[in-house]
Symmetry: C2
Subunit: 456 residues, 2 copies
């Protein structure tokens, strides 16, 4: 297998004179009179290694099979490259074709494909330049997120995926069953002895762990069965949900800001070649907005202040800006892109438009919620301080038409050793769209699940 | 919120004389004539911080509410502790009770509870000493696994959870649906336009990525709908599945051995206080077997050799040891615990007892499979070199009664730029049982899902 010092990313940094072996997939082959030039990529870098193979060094039928998509290995000496954009190239002594890719049949040819076309060949698109960059950034971001929390002593918790509870009624849920669908249903005979669903959030379970380990986080898949065929919705996606005991809304906002800045810093430092590629092809403003996020403290305003600012903006918004309505995309853009020109944390929303578990403020009208809005992407994080008062929470549960019995263990957390606590959620793919400049969420996840689509 | 230098784990290492604040949950309170002793834990360490509170420093009703399970914070000076087992204790100047825990009602009292009882209170058991230790080790292990692969340049891949393919027919699957169960089923009207299931393995999708990024791994949930109510089965559990291009069975076994040793080394170095607690209460052999795994190279034998060794062992096994049958637990124990007294990698199993995608050996009878067996736990890793030859794979698919159409994209990987590749799977909870000495898999996962049980 390829050892860490054998990745093409590593070979490109080595000094001329070393004998090495390079392995990967052919991007292109170009022939001149005496020599063949092969661009080789192993997925470790957006930059290919150029292989220089002298005419006659391998049989003609071998050369003929070195086409786009073929898997080869080449051994030889690294030499200084006369071309620009690379310090070294590989002068091949031996070359082996492991697997050809018939040019008549291989779908991923040199020409530029649309992202829609690439989605149809989800088993090959990871080999394209675009998806090489996207999935390297995805890996780097997942690692950065774990690092952020581990450095701060947070305990990583796997929230359950299959759940008997309907959570917060946050969205449509998938049912999970081993029953013969179509027969008369008797859910006492189903696998879990009752109806079971795929989770929409790990938050409530994260609260259990925060009230034992103080600082915890989840990072796992969540599901929505909404029939939304838009560039921003997936049926299966990933969420990061930190939850902290002894934490109020101010601490929560501080952590959210530090978390976002850390992710951007890490990706700028680990993934610049990929970001440059993505900026060039997909989002010219990419680096500017990422660096802008780091430029200073985020703005912090209450929902009530936000409404006032929108009302006196002089803008002709499509949606109303009356106190009590939710902020729309156009309002978020005005606040982040025009008025403040930086990320904005909006806090203390009307209780009617937020979830039952958010802590009721002393005004009786608003809850200790927060949304983090960023230029270009809008809402990137949503969170709140949680209602820790037993009686208030019970009233809110009943007021939402739910029962104490559904939430017995969640209420128990307020009866036994409760404390003020808070947390937030960040959609992993949403953040990836922000970091890569990709416009369709299907293009930042390996195998998107959407209505009518569960291929691969 | 608690900052990294404020965890009790950190406070216990500080010098006497510093003024600090400690926050957490009360384990016990003991009263003497002039002073109250409070054992406080915040989930960061198996060792409690002792709080010393002078009688009269807070009102009697506050003292009365400092009972097991109550959430408190205390501010004061760290002083040298006269007691053994701790260098410092906290002499409290002020103390605040955030949330009481009525001793008449709080289920997690000081007395020792059975693991079965604790499972019934999954929302409180993370606060117990045992589950504190288990879930800290779980966190440390998840982090160690990511570190191992990230240090080696592997790309982390999220394999899809919902899948339209029935994979390898590896086990019973859960169906995922938005249909009204009980009505006449029309799966073209279901969310994904067809039947959809929860995945049993991310391997086939990992192969897609290995043939683009060379070295990749998954770490995510997988599901089995088998009605197995045993201490070793869960309906929802986590798997780690690395997959490497340019990799044969020998490289695969090398990586598996390095991976297991790395995990044990890391846990021994990060989690010794937790391991000592678990060894004391649950598995006296724990440290000995963990250190034994690091002692030297694993034994490597072929299945055929293993059968010969079993036959000439002179043992009276319950299950047969004829060539062609699968190894049973008693056989694994003999090889690892009696004969070699160390981990054993068994390779090249009869093709009839292994999956269709494993590479057929030249003998036509065996496949390039491997199982890693360890003393005390048995099989901990299973893997193989994958069949990379199109014609051979197609014949194996048809021979298993499956169709080319079901596996079109998997076959495509052998038509376009294929290469020898290999990988393995490790059950995360299985490894945790090995590392913690816990005997029931329900006790190493936050919220176990088993037949009839999807609570919390």
């Amino acid at each position: 297998m390829i050892q860490p010092d054998q990745y093409i990313r590593s070979l490109l940094r080595r000094a001329p004179g070393e004998t090495v072996i390079a392995r990967g997939w052919v991007k292109t082959r170009r022939d001149s009179k005496n020599v063949h030039f092969i661009q080789l990529n192993d997925g470790s870098s957006p930059v290919d290694l150029q292989i220089v193979l002298e005419a006659g060094a391998v049989p003609p039928e071998t050369v003929a099979s070195i086409t786009t998509g073929a898997c080869i290995s080449a051994e030889g000496e690294l030499v200084a490259s006369p071309g620009k954009g690379q310090a070294v190239e590989l002068k091949a002594r031996t070359l082996c074709v492991h697997g050809a890719a018939n040019p008549e049949q291989y779908p991923l040819q040199k020409k530029k494909h649309t992202l829609e076309t690439l989605r149809e060949i989800g088993h090959l698109r990871p080999r394209s330049n675009t998806f090489g960059a996207v999935f390297r950034v995805r890996n780097a971001l997942a690692w950065a997120i774990h690092k952020f929390f581990q450095e701060r002593g947070f305990v990583y918790v796997h929230a359950p995926l299959i759940s008997a509870s309907d959570a917060e009624g946050a969205g449509q849920m998938f049912q999970v069953t081993t029953l013969d669908i179509g027969r008369e249903p008797d859910f006492t005979q189903d696998f879990f002895g009752q109806r079971a669903y795929l989770t929409v959030s790990g938050q409530l379970e994260a609260e259990i762990f925060a009230l034992a380990f103080a600082n915890v986080y989840t990072f796992g898949p969540t599901f929505r069965a909404e029939n939304s065929n838009t560039p921003r919705h997936l049926a299966e996606f990933y969420m990061i949900e930190p939850e902290m005991a002894f934490c109020d809304l101010k601490d929560n906002a501080d952590l959210a800001e530090a978390f976002l800045k850390y992710q951007v810093e890490q990706i700028l430092s680990t993934s610049m070649p990929d970001l440059q590629f993505l900026a060039k092809w997909y989002e010219p403003e990419l680096l500017k907005t990422l660096e802008g996020l780091l430029a200073g403290p985020f703005e912090r305003i209450s929902y009530t202040e936000a409404i006032a600012l929108l009302q006196k903006s002089g803008k002709n918004f499509e949606f109303p800006t009356d106190w009590g309505v939710d902020l729309q995309s156009e309002h978020e853009r005005y606040l982040t892109e025009e008025l403040f020109q930086k990320p904005v944390i909006v806090t203390d929303y009307p209780k009617e438009i937020k979830a039952f578990y958010m802590r009721l403020n002393d005004d009786g009208k608003t809850v200790a919620a927060m949304d983090v809005l960023a230029p270009r992407i809008g809402e990137i994080i949503g969170g709140s301080q949680r209602e820790e008062r037993y009686d208030v929470l019970r009233d809110r549960i009943l007021g939402h038409g739910m029962t104490e019995r559904d939430y017995w263990w969640y209420l128990d957390l307020r009866r036994f050793g409760g404390v003020e606590h808070a947390g937030f959620g960040m959609g992993f793919e949403r953040m990836l769209m922000y970091l890569t400049g990709m416009k369709n969420i299907r293009d930042v996840i390996p195998f998107p699940r959407t209505p009518g689509n569960a291929e691969f």
